[in-house]
């Protein structure tokens, strides 16, 4: 299937999902869907650098929070409209990805991973000490009086934004995966030395990968303050984002755009169910346990099982 066809299909489905705002009466659907779709974006974004390129990023929260706090800054500055916030947050997060990559990608992948964790903590400390965005106390981002774009409720607008973001992330991931860039990234993942010897500009491609990945993660974070009307550092920088964005592609399968989607839907829905029935820590324990179980026993995830099963049938 050509990328253009795929992108069209994805966005048609997105608009169909947005149409649900007119039909579904249960508000809980929109909240749950927002959260699950947010994971789709984060998992897909993580996988561009993780599954496609082979570099582990522990700092999902850092990029997510960059998106969130750009929204806060723009809101405090001049009550920026949502589309502008989304664009700005995406760009800033992308630049952060570029920066971290440039500083550490010449070293081994291990050091890049640790540096991303370092980024999270350093940024968290900065935000906690920065009064303009509320510091440790947090900041309020209130919904505008009139809901723009004709939605009946603000949550519907945020839901719609997240649907579009998920569609964008999937379209970008698939475009990367099937392009020359994708093959270069796969070569880097399989054997960086051989890739370099085959003419692949490894540093440049890795930087593209971190920038794209960071940008998409930041994009997911831009609507976070609006969703709760309030944001504070410990929730924006929560380690849960890192664990989930790693577990979901790992469980779904890291080789293609479909894996993170499957993982995010599966794990996201499980967590929604668990969250309403048990303590939230059990929720996290389940995610962590699934991560460990899958990474040890099913390294290629659900998609791996499917292709292995398919191969046996031939």
């Amino acid at each position: 299937m050509r990328n253009r066809t795929f992108t069209a299909l994805v966005f048609v489905s997105a608009f169909a999902l947005i149409g649900a705002t007119l039909l579904v009466k249960n508000e809980f659907y929109f909240q749950a869907a927002y959260t699950v779709l947010q994971f789709v974006v984060l998992a897909t974004a993580w996988n561009i650098l993780g599954g496609y390129t082979g570099y582990v990023n522990f700092g999902t929260a850092a990029f997510f929070a960059i998106g969130a706090y750009s929204t806060v800054v723009l809101y405090n500055a001049f009550k920026a409209p949502l589309p502008l916030s989304i664009l700005a947050g995406t760009i800033v997060a992308g630049l952060a990805g570029l920066g971290v990559g440039y500083l550490t990608l010449r070293l081994r992948g291990v050091f890049f991973a640790i540096a991303t964790l370092a980024l999270s903590v350093v940024l968290y400390t900065f935000v906690v000490n920065w009064d303009y965005v509320g510091g440790a106390r947090g900041a309020y981002v209130l919904a505008p009086r009139e809901v723009p774009f004709g939605f009946s409720r603000y949550t519907h607008l945020l839901y719609a934004a997240m649907v579009l973001m998920a569609a964008t992330a999937l379209a970008v991931a698939r475009a990367v995966e099937t392009s020359k860039l994708g093959r270069g990234l796969a070569a880097i993942r399989d054997d960086e030395l051989a890739a370099e010897a085959s003419g692949v500009p490894t540093l440049r491609l890795k930087l593209v990968s971190t920038t794209l990945s960071g940008a998409l993660m930041g994009m997911a974070g831009t609507t976070f303050p609006c969703y709760l009307s309030f944001v504070e550092p410990s929730s924006a920088f929560s380690l849960n984002y890192a664990v989930n964005s790693i577990a979901m592609p790992l469980i779904g399968g890291m080789m293609s755009w479909l894996g993170p989607l499957i993982g995010a839907l599966l794990l996201g829905i499980v967590q929604q169910v668990v969250q309403v029935s048990v303590r939230s820590e059990w929720n996290l324990l389940i995610v962590g346990a699934l991560l460990v179980v899958f990474v040890t026993l099913a390294p290629n995830g659900i998609m791996g099982w499917v292709s292995a099963w398919r191969r046996k049938r031939i």
């Binding site: 020359k180 093959r183 070569a187 399989d190 054997d191 051989a194 890739a195 085959s198 490894t202």
Partner: protein, 234 residues
């Protein structure tokens, strides 16, 4: 005729250990050069420095008249320098065909049909769609060479492509190198299999403990006392 590859006073150290010192080498276009030396003499280090996988501290690498010492490995590959690895390094998640698409897309900027052509030429066409991780030893060596060929190089450095192969298998790989040379590709062959090196090379260079100890025709080098001492001990 000016040299295709010139190595001038090249030196490489790892901490306190001097791996290479004062290496001088000139390779003419179309030549077949053999590089020999006992284990640990620095052959692979020299290859890595020439190709850009390692940075040499002193000296220069000049390729087709251009000083490439500061260039990254992928830039040298794009300028026509290709190498195969001593231990095959296939792109394990890709099929045999896809392995060749990487250098074709990034180095030679060619088309997909060329990949099939190379596979046919080298005898791997039947395995084109199979995962590259499941090949036999000799097939992996051929894939290594195929991948280097796909970059359309002017210079091919074959790093122990035949190490560990049975004599029949060596006879499968050696003609490939001869054919490439006939097509105009300059080849530097690093090998331990003496009869292969001697049959193949027009000129042989011998390395020992990081220095060139002898250079000449295969016949001359084999008779050289220093070379014999390096291999057999004093």
């Amino acid at each position: 005729m000016s040299a295709l590859l010139e190595v001038r006073s090249l030196g490489k150290r790892f901490g306190g250990f001097t791996a290479l010192e004062g290496i001088e080498l000139k390779v003419a276009p179309g030549e077949r050069v053999g590089l020999i030396g006992p284990n640990g003499s620095g052959k692979s280090t020299l290859v890595n420095c020439i190709c850009g996988a390692l940075r040499n501290e002193s000296g220069a690498v000049v390729f087709a008249g251009e000083d490439v010492t500061r260039l990254a490995a992928h830039q040298r590959t794009r300028r026509g320098m290709a190498r195969s690895f001593q231990v095959p390094r296939p792109f394990a998640s890709m099929s045999v065909l896809e392995n060749l698409l990487v250098p074709i897309e990034y180095a030679s900027k060619g088309g997909d049909e060329e990949a099939m052509a190379i596979l046919k030429d080298i005898g791997l066409a039947a395995k084109a769609g199979l995962p590259s991780g499941g090949l036999t030893q000799v097939e992996m060596r051929k894939l290594e060479l195929a991948r280097a060929m796909a970059a359309k190089p002017k210079l091919l450095i074959s790093d122990e492509a035949m190490a560990g192969l049975a004599p029949a298998e060596v006879d499968e790989v050696l003609p490939i190198l001869f054919r490439l040379n006939e097509a105009g590709i300059t080849i530097i062959m690093i090998e331990h299999i003496m009869h292969a090196v001697m049959r193949f090379s027009q000129r042989v260079v011998c390395l020992d403990a990081g220095r060139i100890i002898c250079e000449g025709t295969p016949g001359e080098v084999v008779k050289n006392a220093d070379v014999q001492r390096a291999y057999l001990g004093a």
